[in-house]
Structure formats: C-alpha cells, structure tokens
Amino acid sequence: MVRIPARAIALLALGSGGLVATIFLGIMWAPDVNPSQWRAPAAYRIIFLHVPFAWTSFLAFGMLFWGSLGWYLRRTERSWRLVQSGSDLGLLFGIGVITSGPIWGMAEWGVPWDWADLRLNTFALLTALALFIVMARRSQPDHDSTRDTIAAVGLFGFILVPITAVATTLYQKRHPGVVIIESEDSGLDPAIRAVMMVGFVSITLLFIGFTIISDKLYSAEAEIELNLKALDEMDGGE
C-alpha cells in the first residue's frame, strides 16, 4: 500500500495557495506597464507564471538528465524513477513555457516564435524530448533494453542543448532577436519582482510536492508489477 507523506500534501497545499496568491496579486496588485510603450499591456502579467514555470521545467529537465545518466552508467532503480518523474514534470512545465511564451509573443510583438532565441528554443527542444520519453515509456514494454534506449535518447537530447546554443547564436548573427520573450531581467519594478518571487516560491513548492508523490507512486507501481509477475507464475504463465 502506498503512503503519501504528509509533507508532500503540505507542500502541494502551500504551493497551490501561493499560486492563487500569485495570480491574485499579479492581476489586482502588480502595477500596469506604460501603455504607450507596450502593445498589449495586460498581457505582460503572463510572466508571473511563465517565468516560474521556466524555472521548474529547468529543474525537471535536470532531474531527467541526471536520471538518464544514472541509468546509462549504473542501471539503478532510483535513476529510472528520476527519468520517469523528470520526463513527466519536464513535459508538464515545458508545455507551460512553450505555450505561454508564444501567446505573450503574439500579443506583444505579433510574432509567436523566434528561432534566434536560445532559451525558448532550448525549452522547446527539451520539451519535445520529454514528450518523446513519456510516449516511449507508455508504448514500450518495460525491460532493461527499453530503458537503455530511452536513456540513450535522453542523453542524445541533452547533447543537443549546446548544439542548439551554437545554432541559435549563429542564426542570431543574421537575424537579431525580433522578440525578446525571455529577457525579463532589466529594470523590473520592485512590485513586479515581488509578485514574481511569490510565484517562484509557490511553483517550487508545488514542484517538490509533485516530485515526492510521483516518486512514491512509481515506486509503488514497480512493486505492484513485481507482484503481478509473481501472480503470473502462480497461474502457470511464461
């Protein structure tokens, strides 16, 4: 029987509450931007969730990379659980980033995508990788050989990150950034920064809670699978 730790539930509750607060503060409290300088001033508030989602997808992709490397080198169950949770959460948060970013881009600059933007394209690449791994895990029988191939594809995907960095840098030389979706750093109003911090903390708490629960569930599912195999043998299977 799987037991979800109380701390995970607490983290989810805190994170969800924080998220609600972020949205409320973002819409009601955060200041307006100068309408003469922004084409769609209301849309800027997307960043209060977009940027924290980018941060957590970065954490999730890191988990996926670490798990892929761990399985590739040592084949431990713990590494495989990192691959499982990392790909699920990478997909979840990655989709959030690569949808909310272009939505804001369309509103503000009339252009949904910028092939020269390093971060946006890297997130898209890693989200595609996460989607591939999630689909492969669901469609393939769970054997060591499948896990080996998934780990190899995972590592391939991560090798593509520096290649993407070079590629976007080269492309940017001829196509200087039309859209600067990701540069939210310069000269931010303190109130905007404060709301973004609330968003960061909330999403991070949610992420940790999801990770703990996901790990427990995958561990329990693996145990159930072992039990099912034992039942197969009792019934004269194999």
Binding site: F156, I163, K173
Partner: protein, 475 residues
C-alpha cells in the same frame, strides 16, 4: 562451468569465451553467470527444451546481446583478449564469424545469388561465380539463383541461410567460427543429409562449429554438448589439455562495409520504396506551393523564395528511411550487427541517406517557383547545387536519428519526428545561404554572412547532430 577441452584427442585452444555472463531477454534471466569456451576445430552442440535459451547463448557468442554482467571475449596470448561484448558497452565483431540465425537474417528482396555473394564479401572472401555456382548446384539452389528470397519456400530460404554461413568457411584456409541456429528446422531429408555432411567437413577442416539444435544426428557427431536449463549450462564431452591461443587481430571490417553499401544500393534499385516515399510528399508540397500562386511567394521577404525552393528537399530527407524496415525484416539487421558491430549505425546512416534527391529537387523547385523573377541573380542557377549538397548532411543526421529511435522493441510506436526539431537551424542557415546566392550571386568569401560560411556552419551543426546520434550506444 568451464570445460577446458580439446578435439578428437588433439590439443586445442579457445577461440571464443564467455566469462561469467548473465543475459536477460526482456525481463527474463535466460543465462546466469555462464562460463563457456569454444575450442578451435570443435563441434559444440547447444541443446535444451524450447525456450531454454539456446538461441540466446548462440547469439551472445556472436556479440548480439549485451550481458547484464560478464563478457564475451576472444582469448589472446598472455592473458589478453579482444572484448567482443561486455556490460560496459564495448563491442567488436567476432573475427572469422559466420552465422545463420533461426530466421533468415536477410531482407527478402535479396536474390539467392546476392545473398551468397554478400555473405562471402562480409567474410572477406571474394568468391568466383564458378565457386558459388558449384555450391548452389550442390544445394539444389541453382534454378533459383536470380529469384528473390520472398518468393521461396521456407525450406529453400533455410538452405540459402545455411549455405551463406558455411560457404565462406568451406572456401577458407584459416579457421573460422560458424554459428548455426536450428539449421535442421524446415529442411527436407536430403537437405538434412547434406547439412550433416557439410558440418562434418567443416570440423575436419579445423573450423569451430557451434550449433543450437534438437537434431539427434548432429548431437551424436558433436565433440561436446552443452545442455541448457534453468539459466545454467552443463557440459558433456572429453576433457583434454589446452594450448595457448595464437595472436589474432580484431576483424577488419573493410569487406563488410563495402558489402553493406552494395547491399543497400542493390535493394533500393530493385525496389525503390525509399526513393518513392521521399519524392511523393516532396513533389506534393512543391505543386501545392505552385498552386497557391507565385505572387504570394515573390511578394514576401527575399528569404521566402529560398525557403520554398529548399522546402521540398527538406521534406524528402526527413522521411523515415526504408532501410530501417529492411534491417528489421527477418532480423537482417542482427545479421549485419554480428558482422559490423557498433559501426552499423554510422555506416548505414550515411549510406542509407537520400543521396540523389536534394539536388534535383532543389533545381526542380527553382524552375517551378522562381517564375523568371527579375530580382534573381542570373548566375544563381549555376550555384544552387551547393546548398542542396549540404542538405545531405541534414539527411544523414535525420537518418541517424531515425535509427537511434528505431532501437525500441516496438519502434513503430514512437514518434521520431520529435527529435528532428534540431535540424531546423541547419536548414534555416541554408535558406540564408540560398537567399544570398539568389539575390547577390555566388561569392567565395568565408564569414558568417556569406553563402560559403553559412553552408559550412549548417554542415557543421548537422554533422554534430549526426555524431551525437551515432555515438551513443543504445544497448
């Protein structure tokens, strides 16, 4: 359990060794902590009930399965060895190997003659037509020499598969290792007699023969028998003294590489599935572009025309190669892997790329779409082949990605295109290069803004992706 042994009273040496190997198939442990030596000149039979692991053991000897632990090696003097396959990912083809898998191990579009010639080339033997004809005559295959394996009965295909394995050894003066998986299965009585005779003759010539079989007649004439059950083995046969193995080189793969190239080309020329699969969507895209009106294209940014000119070629090179299905058919890919080891992916991703399509497609698109636009530099026509040629690098990278992804058991259930997105940038750089050529003409300065510089950058990025896709072993 290791049994040092010799053959027929003579001292012998081990040619192939399994050390402490545990092998899984799927989630099942088929062999656990197995030790086994194959001695030079011996005939070793692998026996056991169906599903006991005879084929797995045979294929492990050929380096086809990565052991969970332990290794397969070719022993050398002074305690050294050539690692054939181990749990750390090292992989080398077995020197002097010939193998007949339980399935045909061949694509069914091959002809009988082609199959035998390919097997000989892979073994490093270029046999004359007369030699091959004589062998086909003996095995009652001459009347089918030009027929594709697809039209033959299972029994005939079995004969071809066995002959392909034993022919290089029969013609060879150096000791070879011949692995046969259930060779008697599906053969008629006359063929079975011929098989027994051939196996015996191989042993007499000093070759090592390992056979997974239920055939009592073969088991009776074997030197040693390995009984497999419950993940372990037990050996029966005489124990004699063992000599030091002689020095051997790792197998040169030059013959196998050129055989693979010819194989890929011959199959495609006989049944151009790959070419058709690529051309059809490319031409559809081209004619759809033409039908939306040339004004829409020419009124756009200058790079639009370049993009549309290169787009059909891009579509063609991203299509999943037919080579992957050919390698999966009847486990022909496993047969090639046994002879080429890890180099199969880099080689086949290059040779299996669509070499002939990008340049003609690009010129066709140019003719159809450029509509004699007055802005285009008159010399552009002469240089479009350059960016089109660079599309081959993108094609090789795409093929390598397809092959990496096809390593899954259910490879039809995964979406390879998710991993292709990286190829957008080399393509966009080629679009920029083509734009420069179309509107400024070709010039040979090298810089980030010049056609040559952009093409080189595109090729380097595509080559990096190709390298990443072929370098990571997936098992």
């Amino acid at each position: 359990m290791k049994g040092p042994s010799a053959v027929g009273g003579h001292v012998s040496y081990p040619v192939l060794r399994i050390k402490g190997a545990t092998v899984l198939r799927g989630s099942r442990t088929v062999m656990e902590d197995i030790d086994l030596d194959v001695m030079c000149g011996e005939m070793l039979c692998l026996t056991g009930p169906n599903g006991s692991g005879k084929s797995t053991l045979l294929e492990t000897l050929a380096g086809l399965h990565a052991p969970r632990s332990g290794e397969v090696v070719v022993p050398l003097p002074n305690q050294e060895s050539i690692p054939i396959r181990d749990s750390r990912g090292r992989r080398t083809p077995v020197p002097g190997l010939s193998i007949a898998l339980q399935t045909d191990g061949a694509c069914l579009d091959e002809t009988v003659l082609e199959r035998l010639k390919t097997a000989s080339m892979v073994a490093g033997k270029s046999l004359t037509d007369e030699t091959i004809s004589a062998a086909m005559e003996k095995w009652a295959l001459s009347h089918r020499s030009e027929d594709r394996l697809a039209v033959l009965s299972q029994g005939l295909r079995k004969r071809v598969s066995i002959l392909a394995a034993i022919l290089p050894a029969i013609q060879s003066s150096e000791p070879r290792i011949v692995l046969l998986d259930e060779p008697s299965e599906g053969l008629d009585a006359a063929s079975r007699d011929l098989l027994h005779e051939s196996i015996f003759s191989l042993r007499e010539k000093g070759h090592s023969v390992v056979i997974a079989t239920h055939d009592d007649a073969i088991i009776e004439i074997s030197d040693r028998t390995v009984e497999i059950s419950s993940s372990t083995i037990s050996l029966t046969g005489p124990n004699h003294s063992v000599d030091d193995p002689p020095f051997r080189d790792a197998t040169p793969v030059g013959g196998a590489i050129s055989a693979l190239g010819r194989w890929i080309l011959a199959l495609e020329m006989r049944n151009p599935v790959d070419t058709v699969q690529r051309i059809v969507p490319a031409l559809l895209a081209l004619f759809l572009l033409r039908s939306i009106g040339l004004d829409a294209i020419s009124d756009g940014a200058p790079s639009s025309l370049a993009f549309y000119i290169l787009a059909p070629a891009l579509i063609a090179i991203l299509v999943r190669p037919a080579l992957i299905d050919r390698l999966k058919e009847r486990r022909s890919g496993d047969w090639w892997r046994a002879h080429l080891g890890r180099s199969i992916r880099p080689l086949s991703s290059i040779v299996g790329s669509p070499w002939i399509l990008p340049i003609p497609l690009t010129y066709l698109s140019f003719i159809v779409l450029s509509n004699g636009s007055s802005d285009i530099d008159p010399s552009a026509y002469a240089w479009l082949w350059l960016p089109a040629l660079s599309m081959l690098d993108i094609g090789a990278a795409a093929t390598a990605i397809h092959m990496l992804v096809s390593g899954f058991e259910r490879s039809t259930a995964v979406a390879a295109s998710l991993m292709m997105a990286i190829l957008i940038w080399p393509f966009l750089l080629l679009v920029d290069a083509t734009t420069e050529i179309l509107y400024q003409g070709m010039y040979f300065d090298i810089g980030f803004d010049t056609p040559l510089g952009l093409i080189i950058c595109s090729s380097l990025i595509a080559a990096s992706v190709w390298g990443a896709a072929v370098i990571i072993p997936d098992e």
